[in-house]
């Protein structure tokens, strides 16, 4: 989602790039809404009063105007949502079945009998609770590390457009293409040579190699949106450049930092390959434990679905609660420039 940043970085080198950059710079949400707001007033009132709907597409761009078309589109959306949401619902339903019903032939969608047996089985298994602690620890360390490294770097890249900054952001792009399987083994042997093997710290460093480039791109686009006058005013008032960054700029981009933190957290929380290569017993994270259910204990689908549900639902809820910010972050990272 973040290659866009290089396009932007490249924009400084090729002058021909400037025009499309301006043309496609996303308007801030407020601008988009205000441009259509004169027509939204009457529209809201007509739908609220169930009155006849006017053809509105003149001012609404791509929005469908005709009522019959809209009904058809809503039906289409409903079908898509059912198809798209069903797999996870089925996982939830299955987690409440009895272990025998889980693999009944033919399978049923809803549990015949609702029970928490799979949950008690899954959570009672040795190593499962410890893996939750490991996952949380690893994700938090990795998130903090990413932020501490990415925030100053992104600020340096965007505020002082130096050649070294452009080289650096290109290098970060290339980093993103490195397959984890290629560096996992050398990384693991590096960690064991400094006595860190099988620790959450080693794994969180590995996870940071994934989330750091992403964080730098995301933070760069957030810094890009901060007007330069802001810290110029601060430096005139006697702030040092570092002081201006810390006291003036950071508070302005705190929303962006939150988004970046969530992405870094999710990247670590859901990561599997590094965790598989770099952890043994002490620091195993939950994705590895979930995968081990399959081999180590035979095919215990019931416990697996329960553990998967417990592992996924908190992050789904958290991110959906913060969705406005996340959507802003994703689109900034991807569409900017």
């Amino acid at each position: 989602m973040s290659i866009a940043k290089t396009r932007q970085a490249g924009g400084g080198t090729t002058s021909g790039n400037a025009a499309p950059d301006v043309a496609y710079r996303p308007r801030p949400a407020g601008v988009v809404h205000s441009s259509s707001s004169p027509n939204n007033g009457p529209e809201v009132s007509t739908t609220g009063g169930n009155g006849p709907r006017r053809r509105r597409h003149h001012a609404e761009g791509l929005e469908a105007g005709k009522r019959s078309t809209r009904t058809l589109l809503w039906i289409l959306l409903a079908a898509a949502m059912v198809l798209y949401g069903f797999p996870f619902l089925y996982l939830l339903f299955t987690s409440f079945k009895t272990p025998i019903d889980t693999i009944a032939v033919p399978p049923t969608i809803l549990p015949r009998e609702w029970t928490l047996e799979n949950y008690t089985n899954a959570l009672g298994r040795s190593g499962v609770l410890a893996s939750f602690i490991n996952s949380t620890q690893t994700a938090i360390i990795s998130t903090l590390l990413s932020l501490v490294l990415a925030v100053p770097a992104a600020y340096g890249i965007t505020r002082y457009k130096t050649p070294s900054g452009r080289v650096f952001i290109m290098a970060a792009l290339v980093t993103r293409m490195v397959p984890p399987v290629a560096i996992g083994i050398p990384l693991a042997s590096m960690m064991s040579s400094v006595g860190l093997s099988d620790t959450p710290i080693a794994l969180s460093i590995a996870h940071t190699t994934i989330s750091l480039p992403l964080s730098i791109w995301l933070m760069s686009s957030f810094f890009e949106a901060v007007p330069k006058d802001l810290e110029e005013a601060a430096t005139v008032d006697g702030c040092s450049r570092l002081g201006a960054l810390w006291r003036v700029v950071i508070p302005v981009v705190s929303g962006g930092i939150a988004v970046t933190a969530i992405f870094a957290f999710l990247a670590s929380w859901n990561e599997f390959l590094f965790a598989l290569l770099m952890t043994a017993i002490r620091s195993q994270t939950t994705p590895v434990v979930i995968a081990n259910f399959q081999t180590q204990f035979g095919l215990d689908w019931g416990s697996m679905t329960a553990l998967a549900a417990v592992y996924s639902i908190p992050v789904i809820l958290l991110t959906l609660l913060l969705q406005r910010k996340i959507v802003a972050g994703m689109t900034l990272g991807a569409v900017k420039g």
């Binding site: 290659i3 996982l91 890249i157 994703m330 689109t331 991807a334």
Partner: protein
């Protein structure tokens, strides 16, 4: 003492640059160095310099070439389907306007799910005997027998089956990015085209898609890179089987390194893989993006 802006910027970037140098560049250097050695899998075992021997072995091995083609096919399939579905959903959300906002949010939920969980979930849905998909298709009268399609056991279709969780997980991302791009198309442009009598498909192919080109390029390249590295979902569903029919490059390198204990050969494969990814990514950026050439 006041340091120059240029130097100050450099200081700000140094910690992150050092981190990437130590934990990405150095392991990569080790990988490339290892690719010229024959390495015993035992710790402290002998290392013999063999020149390009590992590369020759990689290119002459059927497994490597097969995995390369499968990775390419997998990537093209995932990216194409995701793009088609994501664009469809993005257009749907755009034409429905702001009232569909809540559903747009709900549509994002798979992005938060671990790939390993998605892989297991779809394995559970597609598995022979107690898999739900076969049963539902059977009950709907489409299949005579719930196990008629061996989603994960038929080598001919398994590459498609293992791609399904990946598509399910990240169509949302494609939709999100394309949706954001659609919001930036000026409404008066669409209006002008409609006044000129443009039909829906003309609107889509002549106006919307060309204008979306930069956004599409970003989305395709980003997803292409991710899909080419797919590992978790495939490992958990089939472990590359049956008969290596779903063994992509990441899996082959992993198995060569861990299971077959040949780090030298695995390093050579990893190096080729990385170079190929870089080449394809730069080629894609140069052709799809065409910065400064049009739009």
């Amino acid at each position: 003492m006041r340091i120059s802006d240029r130097r100050f910027a450099l200081y700000l970037m140094t910690p992150a640059a050092l981190f990437l140098a130590v934990f990405v560049a150095y392991p990569l250097f080790r990988l490339i160095a290892d690719s010229f050695y024959k390495i015993s899998p035992m710790a402290g075992g002998p290392r013999d310099f063999v020149g390009l021997d590992n590369y020759v072995r990689a290119f002459t091995s059927e497994a490597f070439m097969g995995a390369g083609w499968r990775t390419l096919a997998y990537t093209l399939m995932v990216v194409t389907l995701e793009f088609a579905l994501g664009l469809g959903m993005a257009l749907l959300f755009t034409t429905l306007g702001r009232k569909s906002e809540i559903w747009r949010t709900v549509f994002l939920y798979p992005l938060m799910i671990a790939p390993i969980v998605a892989g297991l979930l779809w394995k559970f849905l597609m598995i022979d005997n107690f898999g739900l998909i076969g049963t539902l298709l059977h009950q709907a009268g489409i299949l005579q027998n719930p196990n008629q399609i061996g989603w994960l056991s038929n080598p001919d279709i398994v590459l498609f089956s293992v791609a399904v969780p990946d598509i399910w997980l990240t169509t949302s991302f494609m939709c999100l990015v394309l949706f954001a791009g659609l919001q930036n198309i000026p409404g008066d442009l669409i209006e002008a085209a409609r006044l000129d009598g443009a039909r829906a498909h003309t609107l889509l192919f002549r106006i919307i898609l060309p204008l979306l080109r930069p956004v599409i390029a970003v989305a395709l390249v980003v997803r292409g890179i991710d899909a080419a590295r797919a590992f978790d979902t495939i490992l958990i569903q089939t472990n590359g089987g049956p008969q290596s029919a779903s063994e992509t490059m990441s899996l082959l390198i992993y198995r060569t390194m861990i299971r077959f204990g040949d780090p030298g050969l695995a390093s050579a494969m990893g190096t080729i893989y990385l170079l190929a990814m870089l080449a394809v990514a730069f080629f894609a950026v140069a052709t799809i993006w065409r910065p400064g050439k049009d739009t």
